[in-house]
């Protein structure tokens, strides 16, 4: 097992290096002059030269790349050209929104998708099965932004003034706020990475509010996140349901399932203990892959629901040519992506001994 983990880890190193290079290169080829994008069209050449010098833009590209690698290695992601804020601080502000959104969406997708898929496989070719698969096909076909807008309209306008109305934008109602962990635990003097970590965790509102007993804020945050998470969850939900269904159908046709039935086990036990346990292996992979794909959907969901998350920040940085933010955020996302994939591979190795030996 250790060898398997080490080999898998070694494989990620060239990928990480490639990501660094691609991120750096992409940020440079975004057309337009960063100086004039940041300081305005009327900035003079002298001002722009000084700007280039201050930000290291006058150095040759390979030198810039070397400097960049050094900065990343020491954990410094630079300062936003537009907002003059450290990119690390911006990540602490914006990443929690996206993390909370994607995790809640994935939670919905898993708790609905897996049972739906299992049910559909057990009732193979029944009306329930056909209905589930129609739903699954629609789920992967409807664009996230269309579904998001429709949900916002339904729950924000049509059902307004009913108990079912839900807020169509933002993370909290005005006047409601979630006290951060640093405030609640009276750690005012705290600085450095630990404070950063606590601030990051505090940005994930629902668990923070629950842990610290801010019930009103927790409910408010959940109500705000419900629609975006629902919109975002349909695609992974549909995919998970389909994979679970076909995987269980495959497993239920195997000899060991026949043996289990022949032993006289209850159908419930055959399906859940012998069938589902083996059928869920491919589902783990899909969950991991979809977690990465959700980040793409998050860009759209954040736009529709007005959430200041990673996706929207990155989009604004790309269009505003703030290449320091582009680099920092894409790098972070790509690394999260690689780590998730790594965890999926490792969990696969744990769940299925055959994978380890390959």
């Amino acid at each position: 097992m250790t060898r398997f983990i080490l080999r898998r880890l070694a494989l990620t190193i060239p990928v990480l290096f490639g990501i660094l290079f691609l991120v750096f290169a992409l940020a440079r080829v975004v057309p337009g002059d960063p100086c004039r994008a940041v300081l305005g069209e009327r900035a003079t050449d002298a001002v722009c030269d000084a700007f280039a010098k201050r930000n290291g833009l006058d150095q040759p590209i390979p030198v810039q790349f070397a400097i960049y690698l050094g900065q990343v290695a020491s954990g410094d992601l630079g300062n936003s050209l537009k907002l003059s804020r450290p990119v690390g601080q911006m990540l602490i502000d914006r990443l929690p929104t996206t993390v909370e959104l994607t995790l809640l969406a994935m939670f919905f997708a898993v708790i609905v998708g897996i049972p739906l898929g299992l049910w559909s496989a057990v009732r193979h070719n029944s009306k329930a099965d056909v209905g589930t698969m129609v739903f699954a096909n629609l789920g992967v076909s409807i664009p996230v932004f269309v579904l998001g807008l429709m949900l916002a309209y339904l729950f924000g306008v049509v059902l307004k003034d009913t108990p079912f109305s839900l807020p169509p934008s933002g993370r909290l109602s005005s006047g409601v706020r979630v006290e951060s962990l640093v405030q609640v635990w009276h750690l005012k003097g705290l600085t450095g990475p630990l404070k950063g970590l606590l601030d990051f965790l505090s940005g994930i509102y629902i668990p923070t509010a629950i842990i610290t007993g801010q019930w009103n804020a927790a409910v408010d945050a959940f109500r705000h996140l419900l629609l975006p998470a629902l919109a975002l969850s349909t695609i992974p939900m549909a995919i998970i349901a389909r994979i679970t269904r076909s995987s269980l159908l495959d497993v239920l046709g195997r000899d060991y399932v026949r043996t289990a039935r022949a032993k006289g086990l209850k159908e419930r036990s055959v399906v859940l203990r012998h069938g589902a346990r083996n059928a869920l292996l491919p589902v783990v992979t899909i969950v991991g892959l979809q977690l990465g794909a959700l980040l793409s959907g998050a860009v759209l969901t954040e736009t529709v629901f007005n959430l200041a998350g990673v996706g929207r920040t990155l989009y604004e940085a790309i269009t505003g040519r703030d290449y320091v933010v582009i680099q920092g955020f894409t790098l972070t996302i790509a690394i999260i992506y690689v780590i998730v994939n790594l965890l999926v591979d490792l969990s696969y190795g744990i769940l299925d001994p055959r994978v380890r030996q390959q």
Partner: protein
């Protein structure tokens, strides 16, 4: 594709001979596939939807009730963002008739949706075709040459896969300049790795087969073996994946247009129709609903057809 190849052709022959038992015409991969698709209800639905969409795109000038790009403002009875108005269903006669209402520039939404089919279908097909050609070339080279070229190319594919596809596509479009064509290229680039992997594994599994060894013994050149013996046998999984991916490509293009990175579009595009009017959701949801349904139907058609094609072409699923 001449002479389907031993693998695909051989397997699908069996069910024609054994199951029906009557003396049939020599089985061909495509006839068997066609018959198999027509046996699946969902694939037939997909096919019908797709044919309808293609007809809508081809005959758009006949179907559309208005010029899709013309602002009707100033003409009698015309207003911005009116809801659907059909005289037969009781809409007042002094109001102009619009099946799906009008948008923020007082353009006819129905006509724009009809013309939008042209954009989405061509761009979706174009992106996938581009991705298949480049991806297959990369995968085939990697699988055939092996060694460091294989390693380098496939690690490059891993790097592309390490980015969320939409963000990478946004970055590529912004870098290359905002246009619909660059959006097509961006969507194609982010889907290349999938085809590279499929082509590579197909090449790897075919290159040691006896018929390839035979060609080599007969003195066929490497390129000849690759293009005439190996690639035709890798065709099936690529086509299946491609059909499924057209839907994804249509979604991707719509998303890029929705965000607004495709620049100003001279032709109607469903995603940008939604993006332009998204702030009017609470006053005029129909402007968003109509193109939204159009995108969903298009993607659904390709997904259903792709699933059907996969079931028909994958012999392991013939149960």
């Amino acid at each position: 594709m001449s002479g389907g190849g031993p693998i695909a052709g051989g397997v699908s022959t069996t069910d024609g001979l054994i199951e029906t038992g009557r003396p049939t015409k020599p089985a061909s991969l495509w006839r068997d596939t066609g018959a198999s698709i027509l046996r699946q209800r969902s694939a037939v639905v997909g096919l019908i939807l797709l044919v309808a969409l293609v007809l809508m795109a081809v005959f758009a000038p006949l179907i559309a009730t208005h010029d899709p790009n013309e602002s009707l403002l100033g003409q009698p009875g015309e207003q911005r963002r009116t809801g659907p108005c059909i005289h037969l269903l009781g809409c007042p006669e002094d109001q102009a008739q619009h099946l799906f209402g009008t948008d923020g520039n007082a353009r006819d939404v129905f006509s724009r949706v009809v013309y939008g089919a042209r954009t989405s279908l061509t761009v979706g097909l174009g992106a996938v075709a581009f991705a298949i050609i480049i991806g297959t070339a990369i995968g085939a080279i990697a699988g055939f040459v092996t060694g460091w070229a294989d390693n380098g190319l496939m690690r490059l594919m891993d790097v592309v896969l390490a980015f969320p596809s939409l963000l990478l596509a946004i970055a590529i479009v912004t870098a290359a300049g905002r246009s619909l064509f660059n959006a097509l290229v961006a969507i194609a680039i982010v889907s290349i790795p999938v085809y590279a992997r499929i082509a590579r594994s197909a090449v790897l599994s075919t290159r040691e087969q006896d018929f390839v060894t035979a060609s080599r013994a007969l003195g066929e050149s490497s390129i000849g073996i690759l293009t005439r013996r190996i690639l035709p046998n890798s065709f099936t999984p690529l086509v299946v994946q491609g059909t499924l991916d057209i839907g994804t490509a249509v979604l991707g293009i719509a998303a890029l247009a929705f965000i607004g990175v495709t620049g100003d579009l001279s032709n109607p595009e469903w995603g940008s129709m939604i993006g332009l009017e998204k702030d009017q959701l609470f006053n005029a949801p129909h402007i968003i609903l109509a193109p939204g349904i159009a995108i969903t139907i298009t993607v659904l058609a390709f997904n259903l057809l792709g699933d059907g094609l996969r079931d028909a072409l994958d012999p392991r699923l013939n149960r």
